[in-house]
């Protein structure tokens, strides 16, 4: 009897410390953030002093004021996600099906860039794409870009940087789902009169959809909230929502607006992600 009781309790006992921690330092802060987002400055108070007035118009103000950065965050994140998918899919495919005994080494190589601080690597891109790097001068000589065109401090550089940063997040889930596919199903497709392209479209891609969904989410979510790439590789006209939230907190000490923006970002991501999963889910997922 007592052992049955302890068996029922055991999982809850195991969960307790972790969930207590997450409740205090994850749920509570989010609730608190929601509360902050509808506050207004205290009349005659110091900078940074706010009171709760349930002013939901904060959201509208914040959105209208920063709609450009908003749009940019999502457009950049979508571009980076699509680029990362285009680069990562063949990479994951090659590791899953064409690497033979080098599979483990290649997997380590995918995560290896993580081991160098991502800020250092982002700064390295700034130098690589810079005037003295090895990309711009040859392109100028070949006449592909004009003398006045630069690659750093552009939206292009921001997207390249983000694509690079989140590439392993895209590659690993793709690899995991490709690796689960029985290669015989692809052979069977060829055997049943599908050429390489049709086999990819009808068999490989649908079967790897779980990886595509996971990878794009793992890339899109952090990319949409990122501000480091925009700060290092961008210019004032390529600022993203993250940059705004950061400066609202640290420079302007406008907590309600920062909170409202954070919440709007989270909500927008959640809506997009839900729509996306529903679309991908009903059509192709096993």
């Amino acid at each position: 009897m007592s052992s049955i009781l302890s068996k029922v309790k055991l999982p809850y006992l195991l969960l307790l410390p972790g969930f207590l921690f997450l409740f205090t330092f994850f749920i509570l802060p989010i609730v608190n953030l929601a509360q902050t987002s509808t506050q207004t400055p205290i009349a005659n108070g110091d900078t940074g002093q706010y009171e709760q007035t349930f002013r939901f118009a904060n959201y509208i103000d914040a959105f209208i004021e920063n709609r450009e950065q908003f749009a940019r965050s999502f457009i950049f994140a979508i571009c980076a996600t699509l680029l990362a998918l285009a680069i990562a899919y063949p990479l994951a495919y090659a590791i899953a099906f064409k690497s033979g005994r080098f599979k483990n080494i290649l997997l380590v190589l995918i995560i290896a860039p993580f081991f160098t601080s991502f800020l250092l690597r982002t700064v390295a891109w700034k130098q690589i794409l810079g005037e003295e790097g090895f990309v711009v001068p040859p392109l100028r000589t070949l006449g592909i870009i004009s003398e006045s065109t630069t690659l750093t401090s552009t939206s292009f550089a921001v997207v390249i940087g983000m694509t690079y940063n989140f590439l392993p997040f895209m590659t690993l889930p793709l690899y995991a789902s490709l690796e689960r596919i029985d290669p015989r199903t692809m052979e069977a497709s060829g055997d049943l009169y599908a050429n390489g392209l049709t086999t990819f479209r009808r068999v490989t891609l649908p079967l790897s959809m779980p990886g595509v969904v996971a990878g794009t989410l793992l890339t899109f979510i952090p990319a949409a909230g990122d501000y480091v790439n925009a700060a290092i590789l961008g210019n004032p006209n390529s600022k993203m929502l993250g940059n705004v939230i950061e400066s609202r907190y640290f420079r302007i000490v406008d907590y309600p607006t920062a909170a409202a923006l954070s919440f709007t970002l989270m909500a927008a991501i959640l809506i997009l992600v839900t729509l996306y999963i529903r679309k991908a889910g009903t059509e192709e997922l096993v």
């Binding site: 410390p17 969930f19 330092f25 953030l33 064409k98 920062a258």
Partner: protein, 279 residues
């Protein structure tokens, strides 16, 4: 009837061979480009750790070993590194303990509220870092806790726990439940079964989770920036100095971390391969 020894051996035309070789290897060629893209910045960082640059490490000025001989040469840099390592170790210990317990609960037991638990684990991973960092800072401000060392550790545990749970849970799911049944059949009680069979089998998963947690914590900038106040960590040091040029010592530390982590992972793989063979 079976072997026609006198017939000439037909050969396959070169053109057909070439086109099939190309078809088969196209994706490998592509993969080489992919890996090149991944490693260009790493190689760049490594190369510029040998730059005789002085203050700002932007342009190649000549080869030197000075930076490697004197990695703490830049002001503040080793303090920042020390802070990152301390925070990383503490965050790793706490998140691994909490996360492993949760992983066992979710991975081993069917109980009421399991899917809610899964959701609670998933949410921090689905929340943009900036929201995580900002919300925690707001909470600390409400309780008038100053940002600094411990708030940063707590913040890191928050986002590391979920990754630990996912990693350890995957390992637990891949265990054959019959092994535990066999242990019990061989007179091991619940605790002995856990101690002698389950834990050793899950250990590689826990080790991988700890390594992941440390690297996530060590490399984190956004959440740290919100919760560390005046405390400097290595990523913060890099970010702050990026505007006026990063000292080459940062490249030394980045490259050293890269090779150290690579060595740890490869050693781990070799060990696991060896134990697999000896089984």
């Amino acid at each position: 009837m079976t072997k026609v020894k006198d017939a000439t051996i037909p050969t396959i035309p070169l053109q057909a061979r070439l086109s099939r070789w190309f078809g088969r290897n196209l994706i490998r060629i592509y993969a080489v480009f992919g890996f090149t893209y991944l490693f260009i910045p790493v190689a760049y960082t490594f190369a510029f750790s040998f730059n005789d640059s002085g203050k700002s490490n932007l342009i190649w000025k000549g080869f030197t070993l000075d930076n490697w001989q004197n990695p703490c040469g830049a002001p503040e840099i080793c303090t920042a590194l020390g802070n990152s390592i301390k925070i990383g170790l503490l965050a790793t210990i706490f998140s691994t303990i909490l996360g492993t317990m949760i992983a066992f609960a979710i991975g081993r037991y069917a109980f009421k509220g399991r899917s809610t638990s899964n959701l609670l684990i998933f949410l921090p991973m689905a929340t943009p870092e900036i929201v995580l960092g900002a919300s925690l800072l707001s909470l600390f401000l409400v309780f008038q806790i100053n940002p600094g060392f411990w708030p940063t550790v707590i913040a890191h545990v928050v986002f590391c726990v979920s990754f630990v749970v996912v990693t350890v849970k995957a390992r637990i799911a891949s265990l054959d439940p019959r092994l535990e049944q066999a242990a019990m059949d061989l007179y091991a009680n619940e605790f002995q079964t856990f101690r002698r069979v389950t834990l050793p089998l899950v250990a590689p998963g826990i080790a991988a989770a700890a390594l992941l947690a440390f690297s996530l914590s060590f490399d984190d900038f956004i959440i740290t920036n919100f919760n560390s106040g005046t405390l400097t960590t290595f990523p913060k040091f890099v970010y702050v100095s990026a505007a006026r040029g990063i000292p080459a010592q940062a490249n030394v530390i980045g490259s050293a971390m890269f090779f150290l982590a690579l060595a740890i992972v490869i050693t781990g793989q070799l060990i696991s391969k060896k134990t697999k063979v000896s089984k």
